[in-house]
Each structure stands twice: as structure tokens, then as C-alpha cells.
């Protein structure tokens, strides 16, 4: 099951050229771009690992592409996303965030019905990938 998180996630995966153009757009708006990765695809997992610090004062997308490539190399089957942070007053938040790499095979989510007191049922969205410990997920392509 294809994870859809962030901008453009219902489109086909962006090519490197398209990523470069998006980053260029972010830089032109003076947003600070950062790269993050994770192997926990749950939609409520908002805190991904940071790949280095956010990059300030960049003039060109080449610096970001360099870090994206380095992150992809280090974590070839993790999710990698690019965030663009707007520091301007009134915003002070992420303005753009999109996935630039996903694992070759995404097993998706199962629905767990948890019986609790009375006839109440709690529903739990459980990612199959997280059955394995962190760092071992997606390693064999499943």
C-alpha cells in the first residue's frame, strides 16, 4: 500500500529534476530546507529522524540534492522526505513537505480490533512494517 503523506503524494514519485525544481522554489521563497528519514510509516509518526541540520543560506538546490543523495545512500530502503520551513513572522512553520524516497515494497496497514470494557471496540491502525524492530524493516524487500 502506497503511503500518501505530504504534498504531491497522490502523484507519481517525483523525478530528481522535479525535486530540484521544488527545492529551487522553496529556496527562492527563502525557506530553510531540511531532509528527514524514517522507517515507521504510521501517519501519526510526525517526528522523523533528521538527516543533518536544516540548511540555511543556500543559493542553489544542488546542496539539498547532495544531502538527499547522501541520505538515500545511507538508508536505501527508508522513507526520505524534504521539508521547507518558513521562518517569516506569521508563518514560522513548515510550508512544504514531500516524500522523495520510499521503500521498494510497502506492506501497508492492518486494522486491529481491540475489545475493551462492555461491547466497546477500539480500532488500531497497525503498520505491518513495524512488526520488526527499527532498522530491520524493509531490509529484505518485505
Amino acid at each position: 500500500m502506497r503511503i500518501t503523506q505530504g504534498t504531491f503524494s497522490f502523484l507519481a514519485d517525483l523525478t530528481d529534476d522535479q525535486i530540484r525544481k521544488q527545492v529551487e522554489y522553496a529556496l527562492n521563497n527563502k525557506w530553510a530546507v531540511s531532509v528527514e528519514f524514517t522507517d515507521d510509516p504510521h501517519p501519526r509518526n510526525t517526528f522523523w529522524e533528521m538527516w543533518g541540520l536544516p540548511m540555511f543560506d543556500l543559493q542553489d538546490a544542488a546542496g539539498v540534492m547532495y544531502e538527499i543523495d547522501a541520505c538515500r545512500k545511507a538508508y536505501p530502503s527508508h522513507y526520505v522526505k524534504v521539508n521547507a520551513f518558513d521562518h517569516n513572522k506569521g508563518w514560522e512553520t513548515i510550508r512544504l513537505s514531500f516524500i522523495v524516497q520510499r521503500p521498494p515494497h510497502e506492506p501497508g496497514f492492518g486494522l486491529v480490533r481491540q475489545e475493551v470494557r462492555g461491547r466497546t471496540v477500539n480500532y488500531v491502525v497497525h503498520s505491518y512494517a513495524t512488526d520488526k524492530p527499527e532498522g530491520e524493516r524493509y531490509t529484505d524487500g518485505h
Partner: protein, 320 residues
């Protein structure tokens, strides 16, 4: 040759498919690129420096021909434009480097008209593990434009084996090789020290395509430079002062610590001080605008270089 060149296999069709006598409008492309404007500006604003101007013209021509070749479908690998500027103090290394970003941008070689000027302090860290992130951050900020490393020989300290400068040089080399289309690196420094630097880092020397040596200026060129500087500050030399200044330069060039254009700038600053003092001393006369903008011979003659009060040579070197 890096992977980038290998991937770009020649398009066999272009070589055989297009007839050899296809006309090419090189002059038209040249006009459209407005390169002449850049070269004219360079000629106008920088005195002398023949070898440097020639090289810039060659680079411009190559980039242009490359563009035309591309339009015909012939291969055109971007040339390596890493440069090293060597020369005596005050010969214009930094000035030209600052211009280089604009020139290469106009020529369409770099994407951003952006020059990051750094020195050792910006690249090398203070403790283990500090250098690599620091260097990478600087490189990332410079990407798309020109990275100018002034006094680059400080990066390598042969007397200290554990100096972190070496680590910085290695990262630099890697990026210079793998991301040639993203970054142009310009190193600058005094000739003898840069030679020592390259001896310690032979890989660096061979990755730099253009080793440019900045010649010393002649006295006439220095006069021309002085006039340009004064023009910017809205001063001028009186005809007498010009002759005296020429004499001053000839004497000053023989002395130790002569720093070409930088010495000229210092000499002019001092002449302006004396001129102001002179105007102040003659306050009984009315002063005209002409007095305010003209530097007279006596303002220059008062210099220690003319040996009026016989200082020892070390004083001359320091205070001119």
C-alpha cells in the same frame, strides 16, 4: 574523467546524420549572449592583467562553442573550471575572483551569480569531527556558484600531522571532482606558498584546470590604476602630481613590502590626508571646488619615500 562524462555517450547520429557543411551562426550566438559586454567591462575596469584576460576570453569562447555544438546535437561536456590564482600581494587576485562569479554566470556556466568567499577558519573545525560538517556546509552554501578560498595555503600545515586542514582538503577534492557542474572552486594565494601547498596535495593541483599567475604591474599600469581609484572617489591628480606620483612609484617599487595596487591605494589615502591638511593650513584663502578635488605634487612629495627626513627602511616599509 568522472562518471558524468562516461554516461554522456556521443550521439552517433549527430556525427554522421548532420552534413559536415551545416552552416553555424557563431556570430549570432555571440551577439545574443552579450559576452562582449562582459569582456568590455573587464577591459575597462581592470588594468593590465593580460594573461588573465586572455584566459577569460578563451573560456568564454569555449563555452560558446560548446553551446553551439550542443544545438547541433554534438556532445558537449562542461569543462572543468576550477582555478588557482597565484601572484604577489596586490596584483588583483581577489578582485578578479569576485568578478569571476559574474562572468561565469553571464557565460551561462554557473546557475547563480553567487560567490562565497571563505578562508581557513570557515572550513576547518576546532576539534575532531567538527571539520567535515563545517566544510560540507560551506560547500553546500556555495553550490550553484563560485567558492573562493582566499589564502588557500593555510589549509595545509605540513608541520602539524594532526591538523584538521587535511580533512577539509579531502572533502573539497571529492566535491570538486564529483560535482563539477554544481560548483567552481577558486583558490588564491602567494605563489611560493601555493607551490608548497600543491606539493603536499598533488591531487588538488591536477584537479585544477587553470593555474593563473598574476604578473606584477608596471609603473604605468599602476598610474592607470591610481587614476581609476581616484575617479571613483571623485579626486584627480594635477599634471605635476601625476609626474611626481610616477617617480614615487618607481622608488616605491624598489623598496621591500611593495604590494602593487594595494600600495597605490595606501599612498593615495595618505595623499588625501596631506591634501586635506594643506587645505586646512591655507584657510585664509578661499577654497574652490577645484582645490577640493585636486591632489597636488606637494601632497605626494611629502611622502617618506622621497627620503625627506631619512627614516630607516623598516619604517618606510611599514608606513610608506
Amino acid at each position: 574523467m568522472s562518471d558524468a562524462d562516461v554516461e554522456q555517450t556521443p550521439d552517433a547520429d549527430a556525427l554522421t546524420g548532420i552534413p559536415d557543411d551545416t552552416p553555424v551562426d557563431l556570430a549570432g550566438v555571440f551577439r545574443d549572449s552579450q559576452i562582449q559586454e562582459v569582456l568590455d567591462k573587464l577591459e575597462r575596469e581592470l588594468v593590465g592583467l593580460k594573461p588573465i584576460k586572455t584566459r577569460i576570453r578563451e573560456i568564454a569562447a569555449l563555452l560558446l562553442v560548446d553551446r553551439v555544438r550542443k544545438s547541433l546535437g554534438l556532445t558537449s561536456g562542461p569543462p572543468s573550471l576550477h582555478m588557482c590564482f597565484t601572484g604577489n600581494p596586490g596584483t588583483g587576485k581577489t578582485t578578479v575572483a569576485m568578478r569571476m562569479a559574474e562572468i561565469l554566470h553571464r557565460l551561462g556556466y554557473i546557475r547563480k551569480c553567487n560567490l562565497a568567499a571563505v578562508t581557513r577558519d570557515d572550513l576547518v573545525g576546532q576539534y575532531i569531527g567538527h571539520t567535515a560538517p563545517k566544510t560540507k556546509e560551506v560547500l553546500k552554501r556555495a553550490m550553484g556558484g563560485v567558492l573562493f578560498i582566499d589564502e588557500a595555503y593555510y589549509l595545509y600545515r605540513p608541520e602539524n600531522e594532526r591538523d584538521y586542514g587535511q580533512e577539509s582538503v579531502e572533502i573539497l577534492l571529492q566535491v570538486m571532482e564529483n560535482q563539477r557542474e554544481d560548483l567552481v572552486v577558486i583558490l588564491a594565494g602567494y605563489k611560493d606558498r601555493m607551490e608548497t601547498f600543491f606539493q603536499g596535495n598533488p591531487g588538488m593541483s591536477s584537479r585544477i584546470a587553470h593555474h593563473l599567475d598574476f604578473p606584477n604591474y608596471t609603473a604605468d599600469e599602476l598610474i592607470a590604476i591610481a587614476k581609476l581609484m581616484l575617479e571613483k572617489q571623485q579626486y584627480r591628480l594635477s599634471p605635476d602630481a601625476e609626474k611626481v606620483f610616477h617617480e614615487y612609484l618607481v622608488r616605491r617599487m624598489q623598496m621591500p613590502n611593495f604590494a602593487n595596487a594595494r600600495s597605490v591605494r595606501n599612498a593615495l589615502d595618505r595623499a588625501r590626508l596631506r591634501q586635506a591638511n594643506r587645505l586646512f593650513a591655507q584657510h585664509q584663502d578661499t577654497i574652490t571646488k577645484k582645490d577640493l578635488v585636486t591632489i597636488e605634487a606637494e601632497d605626494i612629495l611629502a611622502s617618506r619615500v622621497f627620503g625627506n627626513n631619512q627614516p630607516d627602511s623598516s619604517q618606510i616599509a611599514d608606513r610608506e
